[in-house]
Amino acid sequence: MLDLFIAMVREEWRVHAVLFGPAMFALLPVLVGAMAFMGAFLVPVVDQALPAGDLASIVHVLFLLLGAMVGGFGLVGNEVMNRRFGQASFVAFAARTLPLSEQRIFAAFVAKDTVYYLVLWILPVIAGVALASPFIGLSTEAVLRLLLSLTLSFLSGLAGLFLLTTVWGRSRLAFGLLLLGATAAIGALLLATGGLPPYLPLVLYRGFSWSALAQTLAALGAAFAVSLLLFSPAPTGSERRHPDRFGVLYARLGRLPFPALASKDLLDLWRSGGGVGQVLFSLLIPLVLCWFLLSLLAPVLPSHGVLLLFSVLTGVLASTMFTWLTAFDTPGAYACLPVAVGDLIRSKLGLFALLHVVPVAIVLGAAVLAGGGEVGLPALAMMLGVSAWSVSVTVYLAGLSPNVLVYDPRVLVTYLAAVGLPVVGLVVLALVNPWLGLVALALLGPAHLLVRAAVRRWEAAENTIF
C-alpha cells in the first residue's frame, strides 16, 4: 500500500514535471508562500477593522472552503480508477492487476492527492504567514497553532465533501437523508443551546487541547474511513446503456455554435456523474460557504456590500464551469474529425454561456433572500462581467486544458494578475455605489477580443488535444 502511494506521488510529480518543467512545478509552493507572505502584512489592518476574533473565523472558513473545493473524490472516483489517456495508463488503473482491493487503490489515490494539495498549497500559505509573523505581531506559538488548525480546517472541508459526494454517488436518497439529518441536528442544537456547534479546528486555534485534537482527528478519520468504505467503483466489464439522447439535444441546441460538439459535451457532463452533482458540489456548496464568509464581513461593509462581493465571487467560480466542459475530452476523440481547435473553444464557450442559467439564478436568489432586490441588476452584471473576463483569461492562458492554471506558476500568476486587478477595481467601484457595478459589463468587450486572440493562439500551437 505504501509502495503504491509512493508510486502515485512519483507519477504525479513526473506528469507535472513533464508538462511544466520540474523547476517550474517545484516553484509553485514557493510562489504560493510568497503571496501568503505579502498578504500577511494586511492581517493587522484587517484584524483591527473587524470585530474581535472574526478574522480567525474567516481564515478558517476559507481553508474549509479550499478543502471542500478539492474534496469531490466521490464524483470522480470511477474516472480515477479507469484513468487512461491515449497511450498513458495511470498507476490507479494499472494497479488493478496487483493483488490489492479497489478500495485500497482508491485510498492511496486520495492520500496522494491530499498530500499534494497540502504540500503545494496549504503548507506554503502557512509558511508564508510564519515568515511574516515577526513583522505582524504573531507569536511563534500562534503560528504553530495556525499550522495545526488550518491544516485540520482544510482536511475537514476535504473530508466533508469526500463523504457527501461518496454518499451522493451511492444513493441520492441517502444523501438527502444525510443532509436532512445534519440540518435537523444543527437546528436542534440551535434550539437547545442558542448557538452553532463549535468548529473544532477553530477551537484548537483559540486554545489548544488534546481532547479537541482527538475529537477532530477522530471525526476526520471517521469521515475518510466511511467514504472509502462506501466508495464502490463501477465493476470492470459492466455495460451502461442509455437511450439515444444525442439527436434530441442536437435539435434543441441548434442555435449554439457547433451544436454537435455542444451536445456531446452536455452528455459528457451529465453522464459522467456531473450535472446536478457538479452544480451542487462545485458551485452551490462553495458559494454557501462564501456567503457565510462574507456575512462575517457585513459589519465593515456598506449596504449590500455582501451581495455585491458575493456576485463577484460567483462570477469567478462560475468561470470554472469551463473546466466541467473540458474534463472528459480524451485525446483522439476529435483526431478523425474535421474540427479545428477554435471550433472546440467556441463550442465550449457557447455551452458555458448556456450553463450560466445556474449562477444567474444563484445571484438573483441571493439578492431576493438578502433583501437586495434593488441592486439585483448591478449584482447580476458584476457576476456576468467577471465570469466572462475570467473565462476569457483562462482560455487564452490554458486553452482547452484549464487545469494547467492550478499547477503552472507562470500561468497562475498571470491569471491572478489579469483577473485580480479588474475585479478589485470593480469591487471598489461597487462598494462606493452599487450601480457602478454595471461597469462590469464593459469587461464583455475585452473578453470577446481575448477569446479571439486565444483562438488564434491555440490554432497556431501544436495540437495537444489531438
Partner: protein, 242 residues
C-alpha cells in the same frame, strides 16, 4: 493515374528524436497502399501528419490536393481516418457516436449507414452501450464504422485489424478490397505483414523514420519470396549497419 497522397521531404522531430526523416511518398488513386514497419518506425506519425493531426517539422504533404499543414481541417473533412488509439468519446453510446460523427461531417444518411455498419460488423447489440464500457474490439469496430460512414474517396487507417477476431479480420479485408475496387483509395498502416501481402496493391517500408523500401506484391511474387521474409531481412541488415 492521379495522386491522392503526395509527400516530399516530410519530417517530424520531437526534440532530439527524429520520428520521420525526409519521407518522399506517392500514392495513386485506387490503390490499397500499405505503410509497413516495426513498432516505433514512424508509421503512426506519418498518418498523423498526413491527416493534419500534427504539423511536419519539415517538408510538405498534400492529400486529395489539399496541403495538410495549411488546411488540416479540410483534409479531415475529405478523408476517413482510423486513429492509432480507439478512443471514441467515453460518455456517448455507440449509436450516438455515429450520429455525432455524421453531424460534425454534415452527413445526412446516418440512420441507414449506421444500421448497415452495426449489422455488417455484428455489434448491433452494443448500440446503446456507452463507448467507455465497450470492449477494445467493439470500440475498434465503431472506429472502423465512423471512418467509412460518409464513404470517403480516401481512408487513412492505422492498424485497423489489430483488435479484431479472425472472422471480423476476414470480413474487413474483403471490405477493403471491394472498397478499392469501387475506385476509392486506402492508405493502410500495419505491422501485420501477411495482411499487407494479401490485400495491398503497393507498399512502402519505414524503419527508424526513413523510407526503406517500396514495391508491389506482384514484384515480390516474381522473386518467389514473401513479404515477411524480405521485410525481416531488410530490417536485420539495417540493424546490423546501425
Amino acid at each position: 493515374m492521379a495522386l491522392v497522397v503526395e509527400a516530399k521531404g516530410l519530417s517530424k522531430r520531437y526534440g532530439e528524436t527524429v520520428a520521420v526523416d525526409s519521407l518522399d511518398l506517392e500514392v495513386p488513386e485506387g490503390a490499397l497502399f500499405g505503410l509497413l514497419g516495426p513498432n516505433g518506425s514512424g508509421k503512426s506519425t506519418t498518418i498523423r501528419m498526413l491527416t493534419g493531426q500534427t504539423r511536419p517539422s519539415a517538408g510538405t504533404a498534400t492529400v486529395l490536393g489539399v496541403d495538410t499543414a495549411a488546411d488540416p481541417v479540410e483534409v479531415r473533412r475529405r478523408v476517413g481516418i482510423i486513429p492509432e488509439q480507439e478512443t471514441p468519446p467515453s460518455f456517448l453510446t455507440a449509436a450516438e457516436y455515429l450520429r455525432f460523427v455524421a453531424a460534425v461531417r454534415g452527413f445526412a444518411g446516418v440512420e441507414k449507414a449506421a444500421d448497415w455498419w452495426f449489422d455488417f460488423l455484428d455489434f448491433g447489440d452494443k448500440r446503446d452501450v456507452l463507448c467507455k464500457d465497450l470492449s477494445r474490439g467493439t470500440r475498434q469496430k465503431l472506429m472502423f464504422a465512423q471512418a467509412f460512414l460518409h464513404s470517403p474517396r480516401l481512408a487513412l487507417i492505422d492498424e485497423p485489424l489489430v483488435n479484431f477476431d479472425p472472422i471480423v479480420q476476414h470480413q474487413v479485408k474483403e471490405f477493403l478490397v471491394e472498397y478499392v475496387e469501387k475506385g476509392n483509395t486506402i492508405f493502410l498502416s500495419t505491422h501485420i505483414l501477411e495482411v499487407a501481402e494479401e490485400v495491398c496493391t503497393g507498399y512502402a517500408v519505414l524503419h527508424r523514420g526513413r523510407l526503406f523500401a517500396t514495391g508491389t506484391p506482384d514484384e515480390l511474387r516474381q522473386t518467389g519470396r514473401h513479404l515477411p521474409e524480405v521485410f525481416l531481412e531488410l530490417v536485420r541488415q539495417d540493424r546490423g549497419h546501425a
